[in-house]
Symmetry: C2
Subunit: 506 residues, 2 copies
């Protein structure tokens, strides 16, 4: 989940200077539109210590016309607050229609720290998050736009920041800062679970990489602009002049190299195996898998394997290598194409529920339910509301599987844009493979950048502790196949020997 906020996104001073005035102007015009509407905006500023949340709040107060903006900082509870139900302090601060509340700290703080420092157990933690979801639903139904920002720093960055802080402002809660830094792992795990459980279609999370403050601030601006534009789209009482400018500098800059890095860009595609290495490792992994598949069957345990990736990334051939290692009675490969007529008459998850095998078998999906947030999103077969809420539906679906002790193992096979071009060309020149290349493949290729973004979002929203994404470097097919086989073996071993069960909260 947080891996998408550790990819090294940044903006140069020059880029920031160009983008910032547009953010400022567009937020001001959207604020005017908000004022004339029956809606209100709640901005939740949350995230790890040291990520510069205070600076973000200051920036928001500079960008918005402050007449209608109220900032509320939630520190320790006051006596007044402690003597009332917990949400009272928040209800007091909710904005009137047409105005804005910036929440520095929020209802997420207490459950997360309480759980991380073991003051409450998993059950209480989940109840708290449920109450939060109820609250947010109540608010959005009533016309509130909730923008949730989570600022993330990699561990090392947070440590540096803590040192810097204690050097510059020795007085800034040094004890707490140290404590937080020490519990980084635990807080990250708990926060990840809190985010996942409250990542709803009506109030989704934005996970923002905060290492570079310029990138951080501009992406806050961008997140607010997108949410406000979406929410106020149908409000026609204000002239169309507030629409997105045609030659947006902001968008151009956000598409530029350093601020557009995705989790895929950080994968080392040069990894490869020699033929000898490949032969040896493949055969070893296949033997290992053969035994594991039978152990799974004997213990009546299931696994669901999901293969996604670029066209020509090698999904099919990887699946064949995997299947070759197992007794054919123990698995089934399900190629997922366009839904049938009957499937279209049901919820999009229905066809996947149908395919769930009895205990003791393995199902391998060649493409999967993630089509909802990939091709259906890009081709606009599902509208934004639909695919946004799918993240939670998919997470719930997979939790249904894993809580029934089914291993869910997900792969995205990544190749470079150039490698894909080479493979497409090679296929076209090969009479046996020619049929595999269609016009649709070339069309998809043109949407490479959109897909890259969609994959990044998919990993951000659906890479969970119980069903994480495995990103596989696929330029070298041999390397990819062996890595996939080994990953499957490791996952199966984990489920066969659950000394250390996968859990989001230790």
């Amino acid at each position: 989940m947080f891996e998408v906020a550790e990819v090294g996104r940044s903006l140069s001073k020059e880029e920031y200077k160009q983008a910032e005035p547009e953010v400022h102007y567009r937020l001001l015009t959207l604020q005017q539109k908000l004022r004339a509407s029956s809606k209100a905006l709640i901005v939740i500023v949350a995230g790890v210590e040291g990520a510069g949340k205070g600076e973000v709040v200051n920036k928001l107060n500079r960008w918005f016309d402050t007449r209608d903006v109220q900032t509320h900082a939630f520190w320790d509870e006051t006596d007044e607050e402690r003597e009332r139900p917990e949400f009272w302090r928040y209800w007091r601060t909710f904005p009137a229609r047409g105005s804005i509340s910036v929440m520095f700290g929020s209802w997420y703080g207490k459950p997360i720290t309480d759980r991380a420092f073991d003051k409450i157990d998993d059950g209480d933690f989940e109840s708290e998050l449920q109450r939060i979801e109820d609250l947010e639903r109540t608010l959005t139904r009533d016309g509130n736009i909730i923008v949730k920002l989570w600022f993330h720093l990699p561990r090392e960055e947070q440590r540096k920041q803590a040192e810097l802080d204690s050097k510059n402002f020795g007085f800034k809660k040094p004890g707490l800062m140290g404590e937080y830094s020490k519990s980084y792992e635990q807080l990250t795990r708990v926060s990840g679970r809190a985010i996942r459980l409250t990542d709803t279609g009506f109030a989704p999370w934005n996970i923002i990489e905060a290492t570079d403050s310029r990138y951080r601030d501009i992406s806050v601006g961008k997140a607010l602009i997108s949410s406000l534009e979406r929410a106020l789209k149908n409000n026609t009482s204000v002239s169309e002049s507030t629409q997105e400018p045609e030659d947006s500098v902001l968008d151009k800059i956000l598409e530029s190299s350093k601020s557009n890095i995705t989790i895929l860009d950080n994968l080392d595609l040069d990894q490869s195996l020699t033929d000898e290495e490949y032969d040896a490792q493949l055969s070893e992994a296949q033997q290992r898998l053969y035994k594991l598949a039978w152990s799974m069957h004997n213990q009546k345990k299931n696994a669901v394997l999901v293969f996604e990736g670029w066209d020509a990334a090698g999904k099919g051939s990887s699946i064949r290598r995997l299947a070759a290692a197992m007794d054919a009675r123990l698995y089934r490969v399900i190629p997922v194409g366009a839904p049938t007529d009957e499937e279209l008459l049901h919820h999009y998850l229905w066809r996947f529920w149908r395919q769930i095998p009895r205990a003791g078998f393995m199902t391998i999906y060649d493409r999967s339910w993630y089509g909802r947030v990939l091709v259906e999103r890009i081709e606009k077969l599902a509208d934004q509301r639909e695919w946004l809420r799918s993240y939670q539906e998919i997470n719930n679906f997979e939790e249904n599987l894993t809580s029934h002790s089914i291993a869910v193992i997900k792969f995205w096979i990544h190749i470079s844009n150039n490698e894909q071009l080479n493979r497409f060309k090679a296929r076209e020149n090969d009479v046996l493979k020619k049929h595999k290349i269609t016009k649709a493949d070339w069309r998809n290729r043109e949407k490479w950048d959109q897909y890259k973004l969609a994959v990044n979002d998919m990993v951000a929203h659906t890479s969970t502790a119980y069903a994480p994404w495995n990103l596989i470097a696929g330029n070298d097919k041999k390397f990819a196949r062996v890595q996939i086989l080994n990953t499957v073996c490791e996952s199966l071993e984990k489920i066969l020997n659950p000394q250390d069960p996968p859990s989001e909260v230790s």
Copy 2:
């Protein structure tokens, strides 16, 4: 909650014969409309043993054109099912767009019996219900209409039914039936909590009194007709001939005496006190309250008192008797009228959250947030979707209070229609009270039957174990005042000595 299904509703043979053909015809035409739509219908048939759920299912199969109807009975899990995640068996059976699934037994069965027979704890029970709510939300978002029917029998009726069954069909799971009957209290408590936690705006529960099978079946028909009409209203592809007939026999019959009994009708309005009794009991109760109010303050405990009732039912004078018994520093009376401009700019619960006192004080509401499901419903100030989902919002709000150890004590003061007329007339003839009677009061009086229904629904949906409704017979003011005072005292004593904390699940 179930008290609304123990009021003795019934239909005569004659009435049933008149109503049934209309139910049949309207369901058939609605089914045609459904077929032409992109929606599907899921009917959940649930409730206590012995309530005749099987007969209801048979009736549905007679009323609907069975070509598009599938009935699924969920008994014990099969091997096939046990080896897959729990919801798999349900996903298999979900209807295609345009068609209908009748679920005899459902996802509610297992969590309720598991909790009642102590196989799972409260935490697990709530997680299960949460997953059910997620599932139902996923389905309704995708165009499924979910109609949830809960059939209730009073304890004595169930016992009779069990005897009858074992006499007539000795083979019908006699053991289980006996077991269920023995655990009536426990099952009822657990079911009540399950219903409350899943009584959402998008899939609300219908609680149906099943003692009289004719009334039971016709109200099933009526519930389906209402839900389908509401859900298919915007579907204009079918001619308007399917609209509600102007001279509906069904509606007339359902407004007739025996099938229109509400929980208010069962209140004995003849209860009264003599002057001597009144003086003695009032003074005793007031002294008791005086001490309790100080104990509450000293223990820093809060109470929220809600007064609702007919115009001229005596809310004000009861509140005065109550207030007279307490130190003026310890309570505040909040008369709730039309919302202010500022309040209108917020969620309707915002103004009530604002008023929550610090620990150690009492707040008395003269009218309350229940205006949402009473006047706002009747005067159409809130649309149906809004007030339907308010039940859950209000329950969540009150649970926020009670889980912070605030006692929530709710009164509906009931008087007869005639008594109201007398009081109105008396007020008009009294120069000191004349100002209390307005045209609005006379207008409300005309909507007496609508209000009666709304009150019944309100009690059905919001009378919870932690914040039950107290219905007060108010024709005799003296009786009402003393009863209110005593009820308040008992509730405060309970919260001051929580040996036996109020809980929905023992």
